[in-house]
Amino acid sequence: MSHKIAIIGAGPAGCYVAQSLVKASPDAEITIIERLPTPYGLIRYGVAADHQGTKGVSRQFSRLFERQGVNFIGNLEVGKDISLEELQNCMDAVVIATGLYADREIDVQGNDLKNIYGAGEISRFWNAHPDSELFQPSLGKTVAVFGNGNVAMDIIRLLAKPESGFEGSDFNPSHVNDQVSKIHVIGRSPLEHAKFDPVLIHELKDIEGLNCSLAQGDFLASSQDNPTAVALAELLESQDQSGSKEVVFHSGWQVEAFCGGKGCVNSVLVRNSGSNDVKTIECDSVITAIGFEDSGTLDRDMILSEAEGAEDGIISQGTFMTGWFKRGPSGTIPENRTDSQKVAKSIISWLESTVSDKPGKAAILEQFGHRITSYEDWLAIDRIETRFGGEKRCRQKISSWKTMMAAIEQQRNAV
């Protein structure tokens, strides 16, 4: 009997591990189980809407389902709708690839004030994630962004871009941040040590009507062999004085407290890591982009602490992990591809030592067939969204879970 493999999570980590497994073990029955009705996770809901080229990696993954015989089961959450143990009983191997969902918070006084948001939360909203259906951020005119990595850079760019910058994207026109006029970018380390990719800094430079400057008294240590510092220096020199929007970089400042009135944040108190000076930055809202942590239905801390071979993605006999769930919140899509290839080897060597006696996806379909979504359902959603994109957008996403399920139902009945 062929081996039965379930992968939990249809994001890039899960799809990459499926890709490697299909190649190494073409006879295995591989099923990707996803909490959301649609596949591709971070590609669809995390990668910025104006980076459609990066989202293009989903073309590879669509082949898994269209040509390579991998099964998709959507709208089924492991740990909630079905327990991990139940799933393990159906499968010879289970791979956890659920990523890290929650924003790491800045734990200082005032962090319970309103209008303080996490970058992940905001990204999901801008990407029309069904979890954000009822989320309505109030960003105001001045936003303070904490973080000096590429997640922060995505946030800054999407705050700064005018409507014209979103043509061809799938950014919802009603989310364009025209009202934002000033963006403070605050990083703990000196700016020259920022982890921004130079290409993302160049992208900021190309935004029409955007002035970028350093906060008064701050400086950027120039270094020719540091591409990020070089790109930042170029950005700061290329002033568009006609600009209607402003980005101000604060180099080497750490937040001491969020301050507010009437329950809402109205300023941040920051301390310089070098001079120990303090200053207050006024703002209408805060977005923190300092990393991600687990908030899922599977107990990650316990799973990691008991893992038999965490480095190779081995949790226990027949249970594996990959992607950010395994590695923690670092590394780009390519790094997770390499890692998933390694984890696939662990899985293959486990399967070689076992004889399959598990029912596989048939058992899942029997129990949950009435509620799950299929890959064909996703194709129907994809067609609808693309059709509604109009002239200036490549698609308009359905942001409501209920509407998505209703549309799926309608399409099924139409066939």
Binding site: Q19, Q52, G53, G56, D197, P198, V199, I333
Partner: protein
Amino acid sequence: MKIGLLYGTETGNAELLCDDIEEALGSGFECDIADLGDTDHADLDPSKFYIIVTSTYGNGDLPTTAAPFYDTLAEQKPDLSGIRFAIFGLGDMVFDETYNQGSERLAKLLVECGAQMVGERGLHDASSGEPPEDLALPWARSIVSLLSVEAA
């Protein structure tokens, strides 16, 4: 004719495109596919024709795994006369300053080492929304037809 398909990739797109090109060229060609990261320039074979597909990564660089191949060429400048290749680049115009520089730099270096480039460098822009195979497959067919004309 023997064709060596070489890819430099970060996300796997270039590797997949090599699979597609192999399929599109059909049975008239004896193709093998390899990662530039597993390729030693000393093993390049003059009896083969090479089709290279590479993306661009970071600040206009080659993908991480393909970088050692490039760096070794740049350092040793081996004599590659007799080696013939065509190259197709995967890029993204969102990053316009470094658009497709990976394939450009590799092509230039191979020519500097004496290899002969056949045809125009193929280019795909991931932000165009067009599937890369829609450009790459006609490109690959036109390259091999150039070769057939030469052979005749």
